[in-house]
């Protein structure tokens, strides 16, 4: 693939990198949240838009990542090992393991699809939310408080990401590195196989490909990204609660991704970013009407623009530039 296809994402990254120069500290802090939500949206875009698995419980992986990160960096597992890096790794591994177990349960044999899958994933996320609300060793309903910020330790060098601006550039680097990597990866043979899986999985089986492995791998990939997003989220917020693993966040990420465009990573990212930004900006003016508006916009966009409100114009731009934006 030519690097030209990465130009739109690169442009976006440059624009975002310039934002802290014109925004005040509060808004840079908010941008950090939007970046993490965008990363979370990428995970659902991979699973749903590329893998064709409509997962209505994506927050399960985000929440697992969040809780594992909180437990590690607060020293609740091993008091001596509280490094952010180990926390992030543990968070991603835990999310992936859960995804592999759940994926095997859901997809082995004839597998569950469509509506069944949707209802079953909702049930899973509701179960986890209930579990965490009542697991008192892990904070129960109140969650875990005082989670330390991200730290970096190289030999004697030690740095804590307290301020919004350095944290913003760190998150920007992480999120866009993953976005670029995914865009390149989805353009490879693996991406082609996923397209085939979405199109007609019986035919793919007929050609000798293992459907189960493919589905589980894309499910796990999504879970790893969601787990990372959850881990980063708690270091910004300092707070892990059962809402992070539950139904509401699963709904929200679904709406961001569907509004943006599930079949285009960049659009899914922007969907989260723009929706969250609009919420922060408009929810004061619109108050309770905000949710009503989002529900209505969502309905209209599903009926009229099923490819997504952001993906449709971006696709047009891509056509004009003769590139395929992912």
């Amino acid at each position: 693939m030519t690097l030209r296809a990465l130009i739109p994402s690169f442009t976006l990254m440059v624009i975002l990198a310039l934002l802290p120069l014109v925004l005040n500290g509060y808004w840079v802090g908010q941008l950090n949240y939007y970046l993490v939500y965008g990363l979370f949206a990428l995970s659902l875009s991979v699973v749903w838009g590329y893998g064709g698995i409509l997962c209505l419980g994506q927050a399960a992986f985000f929440g697992i990542g969040a809780y594992v990160m909180a437990l590690v960096t607060k020293g609740m597992i091993l008091p001596d090992i509280t490094s952010s890096l180990i926390g992030i790794l543990a968070a991603m591994i835990a999310a992936v393991l859960f995804a592999l177990v759940l994926g095997f349960f859901l997809f082995a044999g004839r597998g569950v699809q469509g509506a069944y899958l949707a209802v079953m994933t909702i049930a899973v996320t509701l179960m986890l939310e209930r579990l965490m609300s009542n697991w008192y060793a892990l904070g129960g309903y109140n969650g875990l408080l005082d989670i330390p910020p991200l730290t970096l330790q190289l030999g004697d060098f030690f740095y804590e990401f307290w301020d919004a601006a350095p944290l913003f550039y760190l998150l920007l680097t992480i999120v866009f590195a993953i976005l670029f990597a995914l865009q390149i990866f989805m353009n490879s043979r693996y991406g082609l196989l996923l397209t085939a899986l979405k199109g007609n999985q019986d035919r793919l089986t007929f050609f000798g490909y293992g459907i189960l492995r493919l589905k589980m791998s894309v499910f796990a990939l999504g879970a790893a990204i969601a787990g990372l997003a959850g881990a980063l989220f708690v270091t910004i917020d300092g707070f892990a609660s059962p809402t992070l693993i539950g139904f509401t966040l699963s709904t929200e990420v679904l709406i961001w991704v569907a509004l943006g465009g599930k079949e285009m990573l960049l659009a899914a990212f922007l969907g989260a970013f723009v929706t969250r930004f609009a919420e922060g900006w408009l929810s004061e003016a619109l108050d309770d009407f905000w949710l009503l508006a989002i529900g209505a916009i969502f309905m209209v966009s599903v009926v009229l623009l099923p490819k997504g409100l952001i993906a449709t114009p971006l696709g047009k731009i891509g056509e004009a530039l003769k590139i395929r934006i992912r």
């Binding site: 409509l54 469509g114 209802v119 209930r130 579990l131 529900g295």
Partner: protein, 285 residues
Amino acid sequence: MIEIAIPLMDALSHVLILILVALGLMIIFGLMGVINMAHGELFMIGAYVMVMAQQWGIGYVGGLILAPIIVGFLGWVIERGLICHIYHRPIDTILATWGLSIALKQAVVLTFGPEAQSAPLPFDMRVGIGVFEYPLYRLMVMGASILLICMCFWVFKKTDFGLAARAVIARPQTSEILGLNTAKINRTSFVAGAALAGIAGALIAPTISVDPQMGLGYLVPGFLSLLVGGVGALSGVIVGGAAVGGSGSLLTNWISPVASQIVVFLMALVIIRMRPNGLIGGRKK
């Protein structure tokens, strides 16, 4: 005796309401392949109609008559305005009705406020059955639910409309070729499913606290009942409702409500996974 009888009666009344919800879902899903994520909100609106009817002074009976009419009409609007545009995209119906459910929930919050409301019981008597006493109203709800369930069965098994509807479920294209107006049958069924949710909500409203978030608590168990019992046969809903609602309600007496919900959900997931056609569903054609 009493220790067993009262939980059993509670479980039975819970199961019957769940069956009503699942029947509505079943009619809509079985007929049209539409997953109605807003079904819980239709149920919730039915309950609100009951609360409001009593505040406006129309009384309990007025609420009971008004709820299915208002919610049925809402169902008609939803079918005309939203669902009929996306029949051919079943997965998108999940998303669209999800958006609808958020919008409806928020509309109710804006109109009536986020706090819980309550509807007074129409009569507050207890009657003795054998050795124990049970609230008369709950017995009435159970009777009404059984009546409604029987009516659904009668309509589907004995009337011309039911025959046509079953034909559309089994072979949509063939039915259309044979001259059945499938669009009209779908619309009628959607309205019927919505009205069923409305009346279920109205019936249960005096016994619970009515708030905008109550729908989800019935939607997910309703769906699980439907899938556990098996899509396609009406009797599947009864088996599924009994399995999901009954075990959940009974388990709460012995273990905590949270643990019982988790156990029931897990059980339901395993059953759905192991028997995709449901407990009583036949072999796949």
